[in-house]
C-alpha cells in the first residue's frame, strides 16, 4: 500500500491526461502508416495507458471520498465564464472506467476492419475522447462540446465501416441525436441564463447548482427545462418512442462501433439525467416522475417484446439494450438513493454485458456470413467456445444470479418496489417482473435456434471456425469481469456509496 501511494504522484494531472491521451492516440493512429497491426497496437497502447490512468485515479480518489476536480481558465471574461472544469465523483468514475475498459477491449477485439485501419482506430480513439469529456466535464459548455464530439466519430465509424444500409443508418443516427442535442442546448441556455440572474453568465455545474440551491429556479421553470433536457437525454438513452435510430445504427455499425455505442454512449443519456436533471431540477423531477416511470416500463416491456420478433441477432441485442436501459430509467425515476445507485450499477453492468453480446454478434456475422437467426443453427458443434461465450453473455443479460446483471436488476426492482409501497400501488411491478420472463424467453429461444439443434444446412458451414485468440482474450476478460462484479458487487457499491447527490436530501 505504501508502495502504491508513493507511486501515485499527487502532482500527476490525471484528469486532463484522461482527455489528452485519447486525442493524442487518435492523432498518432491517424498519422501512422496504414498498417493494420501497427495502428491496432498503437490504439491498444494508448487505451491501455488510459485505462491504467483511470485505475490510478480510482485508487487516488478512493481515499478522498471519491471526489476530485480541477479547473483551467479558458473563456474567462467578466461577462462569460466557460472554463475547462473537469472532475469526477463516484458515478463519473465508473463511467470513465467503463469507457477506458471498453475502448481497450474494442482495440483488442477489432482486426477485421483492415481497410483504412488508421482512420478506423483514430475514430475509435476520438470517440473515446468525446466520451471521456462528457463524463469528466463540470461545465455545461464543455459538456455540450464533448457531447457532440462523441457523436461525430461514431457517425463516421458507421458510415465508413458499416453494413449495406450504413448511409441511411448513419444519417438517421446523426440527425436524430443532433436534433435532440439542439433541444437540450436550449435547455442548457435557459438554465445558465436564469442562473446568472442578469449577472455573469457562468456555465460551470457549480454555479448552476448554487443557483438551484438558492431557489432561483421556479417550479414552472423547472418543469419546462426538465422537459427540454429530458427529451435530449431520452433520445440518447434511448427511450421508446424515440429509439428507432438505435436498431438501425447497431445493425449497420461495425462491431467496435456497436460496442462503444451501446456500451458507453447510451449511458451518456442516463448519466446526464442524473447529473443535470436530478441534481439541479429536483422539483421538475418530481413533476415528471410518473411520466418517467411510465416511459421506463414501456421501454422495458416494449424492448423485450420487440426482441422476440427480431430475426437479426444483432437487432435483437439492440432491442434488448432498450429494454435494459429502461431499467436504468426505472431506477432513476424512483428518485431514491437506492434507485439511483442501482441505476448507475445497471449502467455499468449493461455496459459490460452488452459488449459481450455485440462481440458475439460480430463473430457470428463475420464467421458465418449471416446474423439471421433462422439461417443459423447448431453452431455449438463447430464453434463450442463461441457457444460458451454466447450462452454466458445471454445468461448474464437475462439476470442470472452470480453475475453482474442480477445485482443491478435486483436493486432497481427493489427500489421500485420500495417506491410502490410508498404510494401504495403495487401492480406496476408486475410489468417489470413480466419483462424478466420475456427476457429469459427471447434469449433462450434465440440460443435454441442459433447454437443448438442440428447444424444448419442453409449456409455454408465448411469454413466456419471458432473464436480466435484476440476475440477470446477480449471476451474472456469481459466475462471474467461480469462474474467478478456479480460475486463481489461491493467493489462497485463502494465507489457509489459516497456519491454526493443533492437530490438524495431533497426527496
Amino acid at each position: 500500500m505504501d508502495f502504491l501511494s508513493s507511486l501515485s504522484i499527487p502532482s500527476l494531472p490525471i484528469l486532463p491526461l484522461l482527455l489528452i491521451l485519447p486525442i493524442l492516440g487518435a492523432v498518432f493512429c491517424f498519422l501512422i502508416k496504414n498498417d493494420r497491426r501497427h495502428t491496432r497496437h498503437m490504439a491498444i497502447l494508448f487505451s491501455g495507458v488510459t485505462l491504467a490512468l483511470s485505475l490510478l485515479l480510482l485508487y487516488d480518489i478512493s481515499s478522498r471520498g471519491y471526489v476530485e476536480s480541477e479547473s483551467y481558465a479558458w473563456i474567462n471574461t467578466a461577462y462569460l465564464q466557460m472554463n475547462l472544469d473537469i472532475g469526477v465523483d463516484g458515478m463519473s468514475m465508473l463511467m470513465v472506467l467503463l469507457t477506458a475498459l471498453l475502448v481497450l477491449m474494442v482495440a483488442i477485439f477489432s482486426d477485421t476492419e483492415s481497410e483504412r485501419s488508421n482512420s478506423f482506430f483514430a475514430l475509435i480513439m476520438a470517440t473515446q475522447a468525446g466520451l471521456m469529456g462528457v463524463y469528466l466535464a463540470q461545465d455545461y459548455f464543455l459538456f455540450f462540446i464533448f457531447w457532440e464530439v462523441a457523436l461525430i466519430p461514431m457517425f463516421f465509424l458507421i458510415a465508413g465501416w458499416g453494413g449495406p444500409r450504413r448511409h441511411y443508418a448513419s444519417m438517421k443516427f446523426l440527425i436524430y441525436t443532433h436534433v435532440a442535442s439542439m433541444i437540450m442546448l436550449i435547455g442548457i441556455f435557459m438554465l445558465v441564463i436564469t442562473a446568472a440572474d442578469g449577472g455573469v453568465l457562468n456555465f460551470s455545474f457549480e454555479a448552476v447548482k448554487a443557483a438551484s440551491a438558492a431557489g432561483l429556479f421556479t417550479t414552472t421553470f423547472q418543469v419546462v427545462v426538465f422537459g427540454l433536457l429530458f427529451f435530449g437525454f431520452a433520445v440518447k438513452m434511448p427511450l421508446v418512442p424515440f429509439h428507432t435510430w438505435l436498431p438501425d445504427a447497431h445493425v449497420e455499425a461495425p462491431t467496435a462501433g456497436s460496442v462503444l455505442l451501446a456500451g458507453v454512449m447510451l449511458k451518456m443519456g442516463s448519466y446526464a439525467i442524473i447529473r443535470i436533471c436530478l441534481e439541479v431540477l429536483p422539483e421538475g423531477a418530481i413533476a415528471w416522475q410518473t411520466v418517467m416511470i411510465v416511459l421506463a416500463l414501456v421501454a422495458i416491456l416494449y424492448g423485450a417484446y420487440a426482441c422476440i420478433a427480431q430475426k437479426d441477432l444483432k437487432k435483437m441485442v439492440a432491442f434488448s439494450s432498450i429494454s435494459h436501459m429502461g431499467f436504468v430509467l426505472l431506477g432513476i425515476a424512483t428518485l431514491s438513493g437506492i434507485g439511483i445507485q442501482f441505476a448507475i450499477f445497471q449502467m455499468f453492468a449493461h455496459g459490460l454485458i452488452t459488449s459481450v453480446l455485440f462481440m458475439v454478434c460480430g463473430i457470428v456475422g463475420h464467421n458465418t456470413g449471416t446474423r439471421d437467426i433462422p439461417l443459423l443453427g447448431g453452431l455449438a458443434g463447430k464453434m463450442p467456445i463461441f457457444a460458451g461465450f454466447m450462452m454466458f453473455g445471454f445468461l448474464a443479460s437475462l439476470g442470472l444470479p452470480g453475475l453482474i446483471g442480477f445485482v443491478a436488476e435486483f436493486g432497481v426492482l427493489m427500489a421500485f418496489f420500495d417506491y410502490l409501497m410508498g404510494i401504495d400501488v403495487l401492480w406496476p411491478i408486475v410489468f417489470a417482473l413480466a419483462s424478466l420472463m420475456l427476457t429469459a424467453g427471447y434469449f433462450t429461444w434465440a440460443m435454441q435456434r442459433s447454437i443448438f439443434g442440428k447444424e444448419t444446412t442453409k449456409i455454408d458451414m465448411s469454413n466456419v471456425h471458432d473464436v480466435n485468440r484476440r476475440e477470446g482474450v477480449a471476451l474472456g476478460l469481459l466475462c471474467a469481469l461480469i462474474a467478478l462484479f456479480g460475486i463481489m458487487p461491493w467493489l462497485i457499491m463502494d465507489v457509489l456509496a459516497e456519491m454526493p447527490l443533492v437530490l438524495l436530501g431533497v426527496v
Binding site: I338, P401, L413, F417, L433, M437, A440, F452, W490
Partner: protein, 673 residues
C-alpha cells in the same frame, strides 16, 4: 462447523478445474468431480456429527449461524452471505451429497462413450451439486435464490446436454434444446415469483437473514399481510422448481437429458430444493393457515394428476418423471397439512407430524428415486431405447438391474417395511390429521386424503406396469439388442442404493424422528421431532386402520399390473378402447398442458411481439421516416425554382426590385414615411 462453507466450495472448485482443464485429465475430469463430491460428503458427515453430538446445539434446539458476511448494503437493507446449520440442513446435506456420490460414480460408467464432451458434463454436474449444497447451507433467502437460479441454469445446460449432435439424431437434439428451454422458462416463471417474494420480505424485514425472519419478535412487528404475500410468492418459486401444478409440465420433458442428470435433478438436487424451501420457510408459512391450505391443496392436486398421467405413458423415463412429480406433491401436501395444524392450534409445534412426514418422505424418495433412475439408465444404456413397448424379458439378461429396480418399485409403492412404506403412511396420517382434529378446513383435507389414497393405488400400478413391461414378457425389438448387464461402476451404486431403499425407513426408529427438526437461534421455535419413542411409532403405524387401507390399495395396484402386463389375463386395450378413448387421449396429451403453455407463450409472447414489431416498424419508425421524408420532399419541391437559367434569375431580380420600388413609392407617397 467453521469449515462448513467448504462443502459447496469443493464441487464449485471442481467445476472450475474441470471446466478449464478437464480435457487434460483422463475421463474428462470425472475423477476430480468424484473426488470433490466425496470431500463434500465427508465434510457433511463431519459437520453433522459436530452439530448433533459435540457442539450441543442440537440438544438445545439451536441453529448454528455465525455472523454472516455483508455482501451488499444499500439504503436500510443489508444482504448477507453466511451459513445456517440446523438438523434439517444436516439431513439435506447428508442425503444430497451421498446420492450425488452414487450418481457421480455411476456416471463414470454411463458417460464412457461421450468422448470430449465428458468434460462439459462433469463440470456442469459439479456446478449443479455445488449450487444445491450452497442452497442447503444458505443463511438467507437471497443467497438461496442465487443458488436456486444457478441450479436452474445447470438444469438448462444438462437437459440440453445433447442439444447438438444427439446420439439419436437431429430430431432428438432439437427436442433436447426445446426441453431445456422449456425447463428454464417454466422454472423461471416460478423464480420471478420468488424474486417478488424476496422484495416483499426484504421490504418488511429490512433483511433476508433467516435469523431475522424466523425470530418471533421480528415476525410480530411485521404486517401479517406482507408475510402472507411473501410466503405465497415464495411458494410460487416452489411450484416452478418442484414442478407442482400448474407448472408441472417441464419435468417430463426434461427427460431429454442424460439419465444420470434426471437422477440428479429428481433425487438429489433441483426439485428437492423446492420442498426444502417450504420446509425451511415454515416459520413464515405457518403465520397463516390459509397459506398452508394452499400449499396442501396444490400438493394434493399435483400428486393426483401426475399419477394419472403416468398410468398410460410408454416411456420408461417419463413414467419415473411423473412419479417424481406425484411424490413431490405428496411431500408438499404433508408439509402443508402439518403447517395447517400448527397454524390453527397456534404453536403446538411438536404435535405436528406433517413436517417430519414431508422431510422424511423427501429423504426416502431421494434414495429410491435415484435407484429407479439409475436402473432405468442401466436399461437404456443396454437397449438404447426408452420405449416400454420395445422392451420386455430383460430380467434374464440384466439380473442386478431388474432386482434392484424391483426393490425400488416396491419401495415407492409402499410395500410393508420398505422405506416408502413408513414415510408414505406418515404422510397420509398427517393429511388426515386436520380432519381428525376437527379443524375448519377438515373436509378439504379429507378430500385430499382420498386423493392421496387413489394416488397410492395408481403409484403401485404404474410402477409395476413399468417393471413388468421392461423385465417380463417376450423380448421385443430393442430388448433383442441387449448386450447384458451394465459395468461395475454402474451396478455397485445400484446395489448400495437398493440397500437404502429397503432400509432407510428404519432410520425413523433410531432417532431420525427426533432429528428431523427445524431450529432457529435461541431455540424458541422448533418444528418436528415429536418426541415419540420408536416403539410407539412402530406400533402406531401398524395399529392405524388407514395403514391397511392404503396397503390394500397398493397391493391391489401391484396385482392389477401383474395381471395386465405379466400374465396378460386382462387386456389393457379393454380400458382404453385400443387407445381411442377420450380419457386415454386426454392423459396421453398430459391434460393438454403443453398446448396450454404453447398457446399462452404464443399469444402472450409471440403474438404481442409481432404486434410490437409492426408498431415499431410502421408506426414509430414510420413517423420518424415520415418527418424526414416530409422535410426532404418539401425541399424537393422548393428547389425546382432553381432552374439554372440565368435569364429567369435576372427576371426575378428585376421583378423583385420593381415590386420593392413600387412598395417604397406607395409608402412614401401615401404612407407619409
Amino acid at each position: 462447523m467453521e469449515y462448513a462453507w467448504l462443502i459447496p466450495v469443493a464441487p464449485l472448485l471442481a467445476f472450475v478445474i474441470v471446466g478449464f482443464f478437464g480435457n487434460k485429465t483422463k475421463e474428462g475430469g470425472g475423477a476430480i468431480a468424484l473426488g470433490s463430491v466425496l470431500i463434500a460428503f465427508v465434510l457433511s458427515i463431519l459437520v453433522s456429527y459436530e452439530y448433533f453430538v459435540t457442539s450441543g446445539l442440537f440438544d438445545s434446539g439451536e441453529a448454528y449461524a455465525p455472523a454472516p458476511f455483508q455482501w451488499l448494503v444499500f439504503g436500510d437493507y443489508a444482504l448477507n452471505f453466511g451459513i445456517y446449520i440446523d438438523s434439517l440442513t444436516c439431513v439435506m446435506l447428508l442425503f444430497s451429497s451421498f446420492i450425488s456420490l452414487m450418481i457421480f460414480l455411476y456416471s463414470i460408467g454411463y458417460m464412457k462413450g461421450e468422448g470430449a464432451r465428458k468434460r462439459r458434463y462433469y463440470a456442469e454436474i459439479a456446478l449443479f451439486l455445488g449450487a444445491m449444497l450452497g442452497l442447503i447451507l444458505s443463511s438467507n433467502y437471497l443467497e438461496m435464490f442465487i443458488f436456486w437460479e444457478l441450479m436452474g441454469v445447470c438444469s438448462y445446460l444438462l437437459i440440453g446436454f445433447w442439444s447438438y449432435k444427439h446420439p439419436e439424431g437431429d430430431a432428438a437434439s432439437e427436442a433436447a434444446a426445446s426441453a431445456a428451454k422449456k425447463a428454464f422458462l417454466v422454472t423461471r416463471l416460478g423464480d420471478v415469483c420468488m424474486m417478488a417474494g424476496l422484495f416483499v420480505l426484504l421490504f418488511a424485514f429490512k433483511s433476508l437473514d433467516f435469523t431475522t425472519l424466523f425470530d418471533p419478535a421480528e415476525i410480530a412487528n411485521v404486517d401479517s399481510g406482507m408475510i402472507i404475500l411473501g410466503s405465497l410468492l415464495l411458494f410460487g418459486g416452489v411450484i416452478g422448481k418442484s414442478a407442482q401444478f400448474p407448472l408441472q409440465d417441464w419435468l417430463p420433458d426434461a427427460m431429454a437429458g442424460p439419465t444420470t442428470v434426471s437422477a440428479l435433478i429428481h433425487a438429489a438436487t433441483m426439485v428437492k430444493a423446492g420442498v426444502y424451501l417450504v420446509a425451511r420457510s415454515y416459520p413464515l408459512f405457518i403465520q397463516s393457515a390459509d397459506v398452508m391450505l394452499v400449499v396442501a391443496v396444490i400438493g394434493g392436486v399435483t400428486a393426483f394428476i401426475a399419477a394419472t398421467m403416468a398410468l398410460n405413458n410408454m416411456s420408461l423415463k417419463r413414467v419415473l418423471a411423473y412419479s417424481t412429480v406425484s411424490q413431490l406433491g405428496l411431500m408438499i401436501m404433508a408439509l402443508g397439512a402439518g403447517g395447517y395444524v400448527i397454524a390453527m392450534t397456534a404453536g403446538d409445534y411438536h404435535a405436528s407430524l406433517g413436517y417430519t412426514a414431508g422431510v422424511f418422505h423427501m429423504m426416502n424418495h431421494a434414495f429410491f428415486k435415484a435407484l429407479l433412475f439409475m436402473c432405468a439408465g442401466s436399461v437404456i444404456h443396454a437397449v438404447a431405447s426408452e420405449d416400454l413397448r420395445q422392451m420386455g424379458g430383460l430380467s434374464r439378461k440384466m439380473r442386478i438391474t431388474s432386482a434392484t429396480m424391483f426393490i425400488g418399485a416396491l419401495s415407492i409403492a409402499g410395500f410393508p417395511f420398505f422405506s416408502g412404506f413408513w414415510s408414505k403412511d406418515l404422510v397420509f396420517e398427517s393429511v388426515m390429521n386436520p380432519y381428525a382434529s376437527g379443524l375448519p378446513a377438515g373436509d378439504i383435507f379429507l378430500f385430499l386424503f382420498a386423493l392421496a389414497l387413489i394416488t397410492a393405488f395408481m403409484t403401485a400400478f404404474y410402477m409395476f406396469r413399468m417393471w413388468y413391461m421392461t423385465f417380463k414378457g417376450k423380448p421385443k425389438e430393442a430388448a433383442e439388442h441387449c448386450h447384458g448387464e451394465s459395468p461395475k461402476t454402474m451396478t455397485v451404486p445400484l446395489i448400495i442404493l437398493s440397500l437404502f431403499a429397503v432400509g432407510s425407513g428404519f432410520l425413523l426408529f433410531v432417532g431420525l424422528n427426533d432429528i428431523i427438526t427445524f431450529s432457529v437461534i435461541g431455540g424458541e421455535f422448533m418444528v418436528g421431532g415429536n418426541g415419540k419413542t420408536a416403539e410407539y411409532l412402530f406400533w402406531h403405524v401398524l395399529e392405524n386402520k388407514w395403514t391397511y387401507v392404503s396397503l390394500a390399495l397398493s397391493l391391489s395396484g401391484i396385482f392389477l399390473a401383474y395381471l395386465m402386463y405379466s400374465r396378460r389375463i386382462i387386456n389393457p386395450a379393454r380400458f382404453n378402447m385400443g387407445g381411442r378413448s377420450g380419457l386415454y387421449r386426454f392423459l396421453t396429451a398430459r391434460y393438454y398442458f403443453p398446448q396450454l403453455y404453447d398457446q399462452i407463450s404464443l399469444k402472450l409472447g409471440y403474438g404481442v411481439a409481432k404486434g410490437v414489431d409492426y408498431v415499431d416498424k410502421n408506426l414509430i419508425d414510420g413517423t420518424v421516416d415520415g418527418i424526414s421524408n416530409a422535410i426532404s420532399g418539401s425541399s424537393d419541391t422548393m428547389r425546382k425554382m432553381q432552374t439554372g437559367n440565368v435569364r429567369n434569375y435576372a427576371a426575378i431580380v428585376i421583378i423583385g426590385t420593381m415590386v420593392l420600388v413600387a412598395v417604397l413609392f406607395i409608402l412614401v407617397r401615401f404612407g407619409g414615411v
